[in-house]
């Protein structure tokens, strides 16, 4: 069996397309991944992220484009010839094999001699802290333990590339947090190149070196978590990054780098992110960055609801024209009260309507 090289410098996706009958799931993906990187493919369901992963793994043939490991073409290889490790959303553990046999499967298929196989399986069991469960069947394990077996099974063969398909989506919130740290820890200790598919922006932000935001089968933006979090390039990326408030306004001018946006008669400052053909533009602001000003500047709203959030209050206000604004307040507010809301210019992103 020919199994892909265990080392490479770069993985290239070159115009990778995938069509299902009339539906195009991937519209030509171009991406270069460096060795050792942790890449998150982030996007809403149906954006093509799992399709992309399956194409890289070889479980789906590509309809066009190429996948290259350095200068070796891999998209023409069968999955068993690529030698990539994959962690499935439902774990896909072999139910009739013990944890030890599950983890050793890949090594056995590669013809690794028994003593070495046992040694490496023991090391993998230790890496995911499952030494005591080695002789159990997957059905006897909890969801989190099964997940760790799936990870161990994928990494024990030391694959050049580890692919993870929403591995945490079947776990409860607490376990998800623990496993997230576990995945990060394993990645840092092994340095394996990882492509991680998720729809959870928090997961992507905390795990990835770089995030690739997909939408409708195309790449929207690629960047480090910090870049994406602070400066999303598109309104829908901003939406994904927690910019819950989107307010329509009219561009009235520029002042240095700041755009001046007239929102229902109030002019606010923001960072211009995408040019506008006309004057119409949208301001995107995170609820945590929008606060009552306490002065007579800011967007006037009537308070609709206030929730206690531990460190402060979360308010919902309605502008004169009926737009809902979510904001943070350090002090409680009465329902029906009139307040004015403002945010730092650096925290307001202005997107032109030309998309």
């Amino acid at each position: 069996m020919t199994v892909g090289a265990t080392t490479f410098k770069q993985l290239h996706l070159q115009g990778v397309r995938r069509e299902f009958d009339a539906f195009t799931a991937l519209k030509g993906l171009d991406l270069t991944i460096e060795r050792g990187e942790f890449i998150a493919l982030l996007g809403p369901s149906g954006c093509g992220k799992t399709t992309a992963l399956n194409c890289i793994a070889g479980l789906l043939p590509v309809s066009g484009g190429r996948i290259m490991l350095d200068d070796r073409r891999v998209d023409v290889l069968r999955p068993e010839e690529r030698g990539f490790g994959m962690v499935f959303q439902n774990y896909a553990l072999f139910p009739h094999m013990t944890v030890r046999k599950n983890i050793g499967f890949g090594l056995r298929m590669r013809g690794v001699p028994k003593p070495e196989l046992e040694k490496r399986v023991d090391a993998a069991l230790a890496a995911v802290r499952l030494e005591s469960q080695a002789e159990k069947l997957p059905g006897q394990l909890s969801g989190g333990q099964q997940q760790r077996v799936a990870i161990a099974r994928a990494i024990v063969v030391e694959p050049p590339l580890v692919l993870m398909d929403e591995p945490l989506s079947n776990l409860d919130a607490k376990l998800r947090l623990e496993m997230r740290q576990e995945i990060r820890r394993i990645h840092q200790s092994l340095g394996s190149t990882t492509i991680y598919v998720t729809h959870d922006q928090e997961e992507a932000l905390s795990l990835a070196d770089r995030i690739v935001v997909l939408r409708d089968g195309a790449i929207r933006q690629v960047g480090t978590p910090a870049e994406l979090y602070a400066l999303p390039a598109h309104l829908d990326v901003a939406d994904f990054m927690g910019f819950r408030n989107r307010v329509n306004g009219e561009l009235v001018g520029m002042e240095g780098e700041d755009a001046l946006l007239n929102i229902e008669g109030t002019v606010i400052r923001g960072r211009m992110r995408a040019a506008s053909a006309g004057k119409a533009a949208v301001a995107a602001i995170r609820p945590d960055d929008l606060e009552p000003t306490g002065t007579d500047s800011g967007i006037p709203v009537r308070v609709e609801a206030v929730e206690y959030r531990g460190r402060g209050f979360h308010g919902v206000g309605v502008t004169a024209s009926g737009t809902e604004l979510h904001f943070a307040s350090p002090y409680p507010l009465q329902r029906g009260a009139a307040v004015r809301l403002g945010a730092d210019a650096g925290r307001v992103l202005v997107f032109g309507d030309a998309r």
Partner: protein
């Protein structure tokens, strides 16, 4: 109701205690079924069993002694096994690869319908069809003669192979549909996982599919075998009912309706049941050596 509650101030009511054991009003719905099983299966079975111990010669085991001392009678056990075993095995071996192909098809329903047809037609109609098809003037012989493979018609019928073919035709759809349901019950992501771990098609079948299929295949084998073992119409119509295909049900039929010895017929039926049970128990016994849990990726 409140009176009951007051009368038993502590502890759950009788109804609650029954419900905790899974007995409630809906449990009564099993009664018609129980009556049917008692009336149509248990009672006739016990009646036949008793009858088999009351032979014409008056001794308790007279029928069984006669059966096992007469090669014309006990020979039927092996004649039937010689048919049922290879037929069932062949059906299973053909069904598995086809099921693996069909599992990936989108329009399974048409195929399923086509396959169910022979079951609904029954063995007699299939045997009739075979009589014409394999007959001296049938397509089979004519086609072989036309291409020059044969100079004179050969007789496939009236012997072992006639019954064999008939059993394959009528048994295959049943075997196939059962096999298909087991094959499609295996989570496809298991195959994907095995592939990404470096297992080629043969290894995936050997390491993942086969171990998960064995319990289902054992059940399929048992059901198909029992069906083939109780063959009667085709053994008479397209076989050699006096010789090579004198199957055990023919012996029972002759005892009952030619000799009018119902006691002997019952004894033969009991022996037939015992042989089937023996094979089923043996196969299911082997099954317990394998993994028998769910064939999906456990809880997801």
């Amino acid at each position: 109701m409140s009176a009951v509650l007051e009368g038993r101030a502590e502890g759950p009511t009788l109804r609650q205690r029954l419900a905790a054991r899974g007995i409630d009003g809906a449990t009564l719905l099993v009664l018609p079924c129980v009556a049917l099983i008692l009336g149509l299966f248990i009672y006739p079975f016990l009646y036949g069993l008793m009858l088999s111990f009351e032979p014409k010669d008056g001794s308790l085991f007279g029928n069984y002694a006669r059966f096992f001392s007469d090669p014309f009678l006990y020979g039927t056990i092996f004649k039937t096994l010689r048919l049922a075993f290879p037929v069932t095995l062949l059906n299973l071996l053909i069904a598995i690869p086809i099921a693996f192909r069909v599992r990936l098809m989108r329009r399974q329903r048409l195929l399923t319908t086509l396959l169910v047809l022979p079951i609904t037609l029954g063995t007699v109609l299939v045997a009739e069809g075979m009589l014409f098809y394999f007959g001296p003037q049938g397509w089979f012989n004519r086609a072989l003669m036309a291409v020059g493979l044969l100079s004179t018609p050969i007789s496939v019928l009236n012997g072992y192979w006639g019954v064999f073919i008939s059993l394959v035709l009528t048994g295959f759809p049943f075997t196939f549909l059962l096999t298909l349901s087991y094959v499609t019950g295996i989570d496809p992501s298991l195959e994907n996982a095995a592939a990404t771990l470096g297992a080629g098609p043969a290894a995936r079948f050997r390491e993942v599919f086969l171990p998960l299929l064995i319990p289902g295949l054992a059940i399929t084998f048992c059901l198909s075998f029992v069906q083939a073992y109780s063959v009667l119409p085709s053994a008479v119509l397209v076989g050699d009912p006096a010789g090579a295909t004198r199957v055990i049900s023919i012996a029972a039929y002759q005892a009952a309706f030619e000799e009018y010895d119902y006691s002997m017929a019952s004894a033969i039926a009991m022996i037939m049941g015992a042989v089937q049970l023996l094979v089923v128990v043996a196969v299911l016994g082997c099954r317990s050596l394998f993994y028998r849990g769910p064939a999906a990726g456990a809880k997801g």
